[in-house]
């Protein structure tokens, strides 16, 4: 009682947020997990929704596409973002200009970036035209039909949109590394490559971990890009969950969302485990 009286102001200020998150985030998530284990026709607890999903070719594709887009996407994003961050860290005239230019995609909504990359990778789009003018192709391949090339187009679209974020994360990490370390390495006569491999990368690890986890969460949940760019040609788990929801198959939608949540949690635990173990060695 005295606790409540002493901290009444803090409690009043803090409680609305807690209630909102509890009522509009936590409870819904638990409900979704609950729905996924209930047979809609009988109302009994069962695994029927999961059985239906794993017999569904579209679900299998969605599962594969989601994991492929995330894993391949993150690796490519990290490599390219690291290259750009290393370039931007150099001292040269026009540095501010290039830093601003690299931020441009951040000012473009995901939905719009999907639309404009549709203009580029569509059959009569600008990418095909470029290849045609360079004499690489004479027919017009269709990139968005749902095959592996479609996944790479989506990965590119996602990468374009999030590169600024990844670059800034890594750049912040690079800039926090003290110049002294590099000077010491130079005194010892270490080559540039050795310095990068043995000093920069290990010291950058916290930033990389942050980038990987944030990107993985968003990339597993990818929704707008596959939807806008391919319609139903390249389903991912989120779009699959939406489609089943629209068909009133709440159980399957819930099961797909639960699997997605499971994948995200497993990925983070697995990644943390890997990083931790390496650190101990």
């Amino acid at each position: 009682m005295s606790f409540a009286r002493k901290y009444w102001l803090e409690i009043t200020m803090f409680i609305p947020l807690v209630l909102y998150i509890f009522y509009f985030t936590l409870i819904p998530v638990l409900q979704t997990i609950g729905i996924s284990f209930i047979d809609q026709s009988t109302g009994k607890i069962s695994l029927i929704n999961y059985q239906i999903l794993f017999a569904d070719i579209n679900f299998e594709r969605a599962l594969f596409n989601t994991i492929f887009i995330t894993l391949v996407g993150i690796i490519l994003q990290l490599i390219i973002a690291l290259i750009i961050a290393l370039l931007l860290k150099q001292k040269f005239a026009g540095q501010g200009f290039f830093r601003t230019v690299m931020l441009i995609p951040m000012g473009v909504p995901t939905l719009v970036s999907g639309a404009t990359l549709l203009f580029i990778f569509g059959q009569t789009g600008y990418f095909n035209e470029l290849l045609y003018r360079l004499g690489i192709i004479d027919t017009q391949p269709f990139w968005l039909g749902g095959g592996i090339e479609t996944l790479f187009v989506i990965i590119f679209a996602d990468m374009w949109k999030v590169l600024p974020l990844t670059i800034l994360l890594l750049l912040a990490g690079l800039e926090s590394i003290s110049e002294d370390v590099y000077e010491a390495a130079a005194v010892d006569g270490a080559s540039k490559w050795l310095t990068f491999w043995n000093i920069t990368l290990p010291l950058l690890k916290p930033s990389i971990t942050m980038a990987v986890i944030l990107r993985a969460i968003d990339s597993f949940r990818i929704f707008e890009l596959p939807l806008v760019m391919t319609g139903k040609n390249a389903p991912v788990l989120s779009t699959f969950a939406y489609e089943t929801f629209r068909r009133n198959q709440y159980g399957q939608s819930g099961a797909a969302a639960t699997i997605l949540l499971g994948i995200i949690i497993i990925f983070i635990i697995f990644y943390m485990f890997l990083v931790e173990r390496k650190e101990r060695e």
Binding site: L9, A115, E129, I217
Partner: protein, 353 residues
């Protein structure tokens, strides 16, 4: 020891690489604007032009000035065989040859038939068309009513209301979190971050059914409530940092001077935090302006601008799609550049989708 700067040669490589990457970053935005002001003949062809030859403001006029414009959209996939017969609703027959078709990107493509009539096909029909050489299916033309201002108004209202409520709920909570003992503080911050792991589709599913029974589907209130879901933890999280740097001694001093706790907060702490709250609020506004998934779960008709834009992208012409997309982009790109120096990596993780 003096460390030498980059040599002339490496400097050249740095510039070359940066220019390549810059082109990659700029091109899609350029294409977007270009398409929205292009003459149709520059885009609706097998070989689109890269440069703007004849600019036109026709498409912009169409969507900005026409309050309600009916457009016959129509929608065809690349058809490889020679000829299709399509039967109109009235029984009349139209012939399509590959010459009158142009492919529009991606999933749906459009065609304007010579007599001004149009047809529409959905994806399944399109794939059937590709498989068989002749189709006698009856296609109904679909009129797509365009209306920019209703969704624009709704988006502005929803984003603004969501931002105001987010500030009212999240900023007091963020203050309290920042004053927690260290251990509890980091647990709470971690818990806030943890909510980001939940897939939107998982939260939206029960929310959609709940709002359906509350009759909140297609309402502004429903959207505001939904947009608060990702934004409250986000705003609270970034504001903790803002309150962290305000020394506790300031409040104590104010209270020694006779202020009670509430007036110490409203007169001292929150005014100091105001710039930080403002920046956070702008990001919340942007998130809500861009929000797509919840709006899609909670709408049966085109409601917010992103939903409308999506509809236009999939069923409208290239040009309206590009123009709508540009309108959606303008506030985001402006704010991103004005707030550039406030965009720190931590804040970024949730901001500006």
């Amino acid at each position: 020891m003096h460390i030498t700067g980059p040599t002339k040669f490496t400097r050249l490589i740095i510039y070359a690489l940066l220019i390549v990457f810059s082109i990659m970053m700029i091109t899609p935005v350029y294409i977007l604007v270009k398409v929205s002001i292009s003459e149709p003949k520059e885009v609706n062809t097998d070989h689109p032009t890269f440069l703007i030859h004849d600019a036109t403001l026709e498409h912009w006029k169409n969507i900005l000035l026409a309050d309600k414009k009916t457009e016959n959209g129509m929608v065809i996939y690349h058809i490889s065989s020679d000829r299709y017969t399509l039967r109109g609703v009235d029984g009349s027959t139209l012939n399509l040859t590959p010459d009158d078709q142009y492919t529009i990107n991606g999933v749906l493509r459009k065609i304007q038939l010579e007599d001004g009539r149009s047809i529409s096909l959905d994806l399944e029909e399109l794939s059937k068309l590709r498989e068989i050489s002749e189709s006698t299916k009856t296609f109904f033309s679909k009129d797509i009513v365009r209306d920019l201002y209703a969704p624009l108004g709704k988006s502005l209202t929803v984003a603004t209301l969501a931002t105001i409520i987010a500030i009212l709920i999240a900023s007091p909570a963020a203050y309290v979190i920042s004053r927690f003992p260290k251990k509890i503080k980091y647990t709470v911050i971690l818990a806030l971050l943890f909510t980001r792991m939940f897939p939107d589709v998982g939260i939206a599913l029960p929310i959609a059914t709940r709002f359906l029974s509350w009759q909140l589907t297609d309402t502004t209130l429903g959207l505001v409530l939904a947009h608060l879901i990702p934004n409250l933890p986000f705003l609270a999280w970034i504001l903790v940092g803002t309150f962290d740097v305000i020394p506790r001694d300031l409040e104590k001093a104010a209270m020694i001077d006779g202020a009670n706790r509430i007036s110490a907060l409203t007169k001292i702490v929150f005014p100091i935090a105001a710039p930080g709250i403002a920046v956070g609020a702008i990001f919340v506004w942007l998130n809500s302006w861009n929000e797509f998934i919840y709006a899609r779960y909670l709408s049966t008709v085109a409601s917010t601008l992103p939903i409308k834009t999506y509809e236009v992208i999939t069923t409208g012409t290239f040009f309206t799609a590009a123009a709508y997309s540009t309108i959606l982009t303008i506030p985001v790109i402006l704010i991103t550049f004005f707030l550039q120096r406030y965009i720190q990596s931590g804040m970024l993780s949730g901001a500006v989708k």
